[in-house]
Symmetry: D2
Subunit: 311 residues, 4 copies
């Protein structure tokens, strides 16, 4: 495998996963200011010097806006590619790699756009309900999401200093201004057939890793907790990386350092119209990025889907 953009948090997590992968080896890894050094035993070269011919497949952790040209160069060199940036997620060029809903297309995919971390959790929580016709499109779905700081990258900025983030908590990009909203809405429509409104509000948590989303779902009919759990259990019966927590809501602790999504549900009392609250948790660096990328790559390369992935 070749890895573009290995020095950020996602790139490092990817190298760590590949180091423990039974069927993959890292042919090259790129970084710019850190070129010449090494990570997890892999020497770092500049992206411009990447020996594309040495890698069967390429994974790009380059930033949004930077990734696309390198992805296209790798494609032109005949490599299969998983792009972890947002550059191609809404494009027809690439398979949208939400693994649990993209498996048929992945085996032959030449180019996979790995989903964003926030949409991964929200889509895995909402699609089974959409497929049962349970989402009431006349009322808004409210997604309140909270992420650890590694989701914001490793570039030094004042607002991400420990002295600013510790003991703090805040919302950002409120009012539906986050770039993950179009991705979430687009895939709810494309995969789930849902065309209603969504309000998405991310928050910054004083933790290193993990995303927890509290998703407020207006329903077309009454669904009690055990029925709701049954819907998720049926939808994900054979999934190695989805956990439905019976009678319990997930916490970050259930998912960090693992490639799983954990889902829990609560039927909402004391309201006039039917509602569920679904809570979804993932590790933003694993199931939300590097882990899902490896999962996709495993399917592309016909490796066992779980190879190298902690569950």
């Amino acid at each position: 495998m070749g890895v573009f953009g290995a020095s950020g948090y996602v790139g490092r997590e990817l190298l760590r996963l590949l180091a423990g992968h039974p069927h993959a080896t890292v042919a090259f890894a790129t970084a710019e200011s850190a070129a010449g050094g090494d990570l997890e035993g892999v020497p770092l070269v500049r992206a411009a010097d990447a020996p594309l011919h040495r890698a069967e497949a390429v994974l790009s952790c380059l930033p949004h806006g930077v990734s696309a040209p390198y992805v296209r160069a790798a494609r032109e060199a005949g490599r299969r590619v998983v792009d972890l940036s947002a550059d191609l997620r809404l494009s027809d060029e690439a398979v949208y790699g939400l693994t649990e809903f993209a498996r048929p297309q992945l085996a032959d995919a030449a180019l996979v756009a790995n989903p964003g971390c926030y949409p991964t959790a929200a889509l895995l929580a909402l699609l089974p309900l959409a497929h049962q016709g349970l989402l009431d499109a006349s009322r808004e779905i409210i997604v309140d999401a909270a992420s650890g700081v590694t989701g914001a990258g490793r570039s030094p900025t004042r607002e991400l200093l420990f002295g600013e983030v510790a003991e703090d908590y805040r919302a950002y990009a409120a009012g539906n201004s986050h770039r993950h909203l179009p991705e979430l809405q687009g895939m709810l429509a494309r995969v789930g057939g849902f065309a209603g409104d969504v309000v998405f509000t991310p928050h910054l948590l004083p933790v290193r890793r993990g995303i927890l989303e509290t998703i407020h779902v207006p329903l077309t009919r009454v669904v009690d907790q055990s029925t709701a759990e049954g819907i998720f259990a049926a939808a994900y019966a054979d999934e190695p990386f989805v956990r439905i927590l019976p009678q319990r809501l997930p916490a970050l602790r259930d998912v960090v350092y693992r490639n799983i999504v954990a889902l829990g549900v609560a039927a909402v009392a004391r309201v006039r119209r039917p509602r569920l609250t679904v809570v979804a948790a993932i590790d933003n660096l694993v199931k939300g990025a590097a882990g899902q990328a490896v999962q996709n790559m495993n399917l592309m390369m016909a490796f066992p889907e779980t190879a190298g992935l902690p569950c």
Copy 2:
């Protein structure tokens, strides 16, 4: 002043505030297992031994369910009382002490029920909109609230250990099962005339103090951000402890160790019907408990409202 229940997080914060108060002195402070020791220079006695006659007014930080009998004993001894427990908040016996909306009744109040921390933030965010007829009662108000651990008290339980809470985040009491919901709905109805549905979901943050609430408000008509800021600015024009943040959302950092609520708003784009997101932040131990209690006591005793309170 006399303080019942001084050894918990709220009680200690109250002693700290009273120690710096220019017009109040602490006549007694009670604790059970810590009786015989002292806090902030005040000796601790058992609640049963409290010298009620020495204090002009009494503040009770005793736990819910424990506080009421001591409050009644203090009332029978002729003392004026601020009860920080939930015991009397929904009762007619006591003035509900959300200071900004209770000022006329506080001067002569014999017994004040200090609001819960979560309802304090939510009501200060919602009441000005309710008073403008802006809350659309046909759609649910969604309140996602996150609190630091001091909100859960100082009793040793496994789930509050540092080893469990650090690097974690979780929802709890989802599905409208938290006891603060009836308080919030009751006061929205009584003070705001709002009878619609509310969904309230608290979360546990890995921070020591602070509450941040992200409040999703369906509107009866379109209101842009500057109009919304103007509504809040007008409603709270003379309030010493309310901050409207123009064009910015509050963070815990804006409010910890202060008796203020900070409010920010965002008009929601990409939805069909009008909506605002309001974010409210308070320090759960100050404006959410001990600080608001001192603010109420100041008004009861005809001290300056801001005496002893950091803003």
Copy 3:
């Protein structure tokens, strides 16, 4: 394998490691209040009900003072045992399992006492210097050690609450009153032939896992940094789990979730007599407990020493 005491932090870490171990399976795991539940897919039974006959070897994570009788019962049933408690560390019954210095005895050991977390780091830092005759016994060795809270266990006590530990830091058991001091001194004498004085002061860090020890070493002769690094590099040339960091001091980040010790050295300037500062870091739950126990078990069972252990 059988695991006694699986519900604490060390026991859970051990189950996690064994779940990923290529040659071991968990035959039983015990817990008391959590009996009836399960962890990492393993059902929990009471220690008194442990099916000893099903396990080839037994690892005990029971607390100090509780472990010894279960260890002896397992021995009487003919099982080989790694005891992670302190009960037998200073006894002749058991091999002291500081793996790097006990390898010859481990292959045939029936009973291994796994070292304490603090002594593991200190001994790995000091023994190579002792073996070179470099420790000046006429001056005291000062060991300042800082540990994450999982080192203090999972029992609910007020002083380990998040509200108490977060943003705090403290020394404890100062003045040489910690029970790990006799273990450290005893092994420095037995394995290193060093009979001088040691001052050991542990501190509680607001982190979940990791131990970092800053060890002030008076030397018998001048040793510069590169010579010191060379001494460690030679002593640990073939060790899979020891990292000598050239020209750099370790941080917790270098070792958490891994079974390694990381060592860095600095020659001390501006003093009249020769001195080194050695900094040693381990994960208290891995190399300081469960990981080293697996490493020892691997050698006892003739598995590859690194099987199942992240490095």
Copy 4:
């Protein structure tokens, strides 16, 4: 008062303290990139535009190497100055403002160099022992110090990101290479008459504020714990900002947000020669910087020494 360099952590803390000071008002505050904005209600101007004539006294929180010219300009304009940088601490131009040992010189001082945060704690711990002839100069004093991240400033650097510091801990500047060592040794010699060796090793803690130093003191004669506590109690009998903790070691929690130093001692058992361990804790931003600067300014201006300072 005028404040140079108000936008860093120390400058902000100073503005916060001055905002609550009963006798001081802020005439100007400077910042560079933040000029034009305001902090704690004070407008920020560039340092070059500071209206020196409006302030009776000036406090400089400018960085080391930047402060001296502004300090000299203020002196030339006839202003009295407290310089919080290291620029003049070892110079004869300025009074070294370790308040408890500099009081006689402060009343008339034109220029005060405020001590560094690490030396403040260490000197307050060591000078009373030095004055009793208790420090054994034939053995090294070992100072292991741990500081919260605000001690490292507010400039954005990767190693201070939350994602790097959280759950981490590390030593730095080991081997006596920190610039605070000459300050500490120089003042131990000048004020304490001690000429022995010192080994000083700072560490970076994952907390926002606070310094805790564990100081290993070789003694010329045996001193038990209560005698040691008595020596400190006598030395600091009338000091408003020094707390001797009987039979207990301080934690950061005892001192944050306060202008105090907390001291605790332990006599060391199981060693052949007499030793004490002294633990000293301060808030690096208060007693270690802005608070001590206000304390010094109070004495220079003949205000009450405790005015505006939390204790």
